[in-house]
Subunit: 321 residues, 2 copies
């Protein structure tokens, strides 16, 4: 593995998140915005000051303890590319298993009230087919691609079933989240589980929204619903998280650790007392490790009733989840 | 157009960038990190205090004047999804033409020194084919998709030529950038123009880098070079900028302006004196408008020599461009 393959700074930090071994826990909650990360970190044990690192590229990591168990919350922004940076770079900072829970907002394609919480069992992806001619629409291609909801076995397509989904949550983690959310559920909020999510590569075009661009997406949502049984939520990150977790087969080969560049990341670090979360020496993941991923989606927009969430509802929802 | 199609805050701000009409100029330089945005804004006219808005979702906009012409510099983070948010949401804040120059770092696939500046004429995209079975590699699919370098005319494939590229820079803007860069070129730095760029959906897998995940990308760069004559640079954002600019056909239909949500964006705004950059009333783009886009790429990593840029070189390069 060459230095341009996996660049690190001279002090062994990954290039975009700015982390190194010891900065991040194996149990991670990932969110889209720094304020949501801080709202979650407010529940960390008060006895110890958390480790806080804000990278030049906009990633915020807060590592502390919850009921004495080390936990990190990492804000990654929006979209699959940021999810890719997060999963791959954190994987290179940790030995052992990873447990990742995504907490994010979403739109709902079925008639549920805003504020409903959804725990998706599986996900498909919806991406813009850039070979389609969006200007003239004179094209043999389809304007959007929907990933296969289920895998293939020896080239044969499986029956449609969320349990055979190609890209899915960790089953046990999904069930644990379901139970934990049910115990804490405030009056008037609902929980949906065992659903299918779709992750789009745009908040607009590939989610069927109409802006001033000629996106040719008038029939996209209908097509998506027809091809994806159990589909409830629409957002932008969960598919890639589930996909990478399912792809992981343990470390295939050791990554060479030579430093390559001066400290370009320039992270802003708030150091905790060294005794609290000691820097471990770098031990990379073995082939036996697993990545367990699941997601909790908060419905902010109903695409059937056109309802949009209010800030007070957001605050109440964040406190619960 | 329904409110869930294009959400705005009660005070008419777009939802993720936090801007509204009057906050942003028609001439925009877009970069990936806030520090680069600030480095560019340092060249703005000193007489007037710039408008600065940092959105909850990580977008930073600085609007001021350069030689008395209104200019915005907007930091958007990384990846196509963020480029999509930026182009679409800013488009809804502006009437008239848009001129967008992307300034970013890239890897080089040909043997040029790090610090070389490249102005790409066209771009292809490289995306992960999530229907490929990355776990077993037992799949009928190809693991990556490369977009067509050239368009089709009446279903017939055009000859390979950068001038017929399906997704390309604005020709005049490309040439103006080339001239401006040549005039200011410091000793020891090179400029390459009329090249082809590839934008990938990952810094790692779809750029042929090898991490601990089974990405099956051993032959990707060879395949990419074979299918894309003139290919020099590899990064993550320019394709989608060029693509949206080429797709734009003027506003197809008025976007309804009803406010939908309380002020959820919570941008941090540094207000300029009102006289400097007056808030205009919202006038949306007419069908006659165009979006002109081009890019300047700074080579940070050479994929042939394995060279990686140093911070001092970055500073010198940023001062020039």
């Amino acid at each position: 593995v060459s230095p341009t393959d996996f660049p690190r700074t001279a002090d062994q930090r990954v290039y975009h998140l700015g982390l190194r071994a010891g900065d991040v826990a194996n149990r991670i909650v990932t969110v889209g915005s720094p304020s949501r990360a801080q709202a979650i970190a407010a529940f960390f044990d008060k006895e110890i000051k958390p480790f806080v690192l804000s990278s030049e590229r906009g990633f915020l990591t807060i590592t502390g303890r919850f009921k004495n168990v080390p936990v990190s919350v990492i804000s990654i922004g929006m979209g699959s590319a940021n999810m890719d940076f997060f999963v791959r770079e954190v994987r290179e900072c940790l030995s052992g298993d990873m447990v990742i829970v995504r907490l994010g907002s979403c739109g709902a394609l079925i008639d549920v009230p805003v504020g409903t919480v959804v725990v998706p069992r599986a996900s498909v992806s919806v991406t813009r087919n850039v070979d389609f001619d969006f200007g003239s629409a004179d094209s043999l291609e389809s304007p959007y691609r929907i990933s296969r909801p289920v895998g293939t076995v020896s080239g044969q397509r499986c029956l449609h079933s969320v349990n055979l989904a190609q890209v899915h949550a960790d089953a046990a983690l999904h069930d644990e989240l379901q139970k934990a959310l049910a115990i804490e559920r405030p009056l008037g909020f609902e929980i949906l589980t065992d659903t299918v999510n779709a992750s789009a590569d745009s908040f607009y075009s590939s989610q069927g929204r109409h802006t001033s661009f000629p996106d040719h997406n008038e029939h996209l949502i209908d097509k998506l619903q027809a091809s994806t049984p159990g589909l409830v939520t629409l957002e932008m990150e969960t598919f890639h998280l589930y996909h990478l977790a399912v792809c992981w087969r343990g470390r295939q080969a050791a990554t060479r650790m030579s430093p390559l560049t001066e400290r370009l990341v320039e992270p802003v670090i708030s150091l905790p007392p060294a005794s609290v979360f000691p820097t471990t020496s770098l031990q990379l993941a073995s082939p036996e490790t697993v990545i367990r991923a699941a997601a909790v989606h908060m419905v902010f927009a109903s695409r059937t009733s056109q309802e949009f969430i209010t800030p007070n509802q957001v605050t109440e929802l964040e406190r619960w989840t």
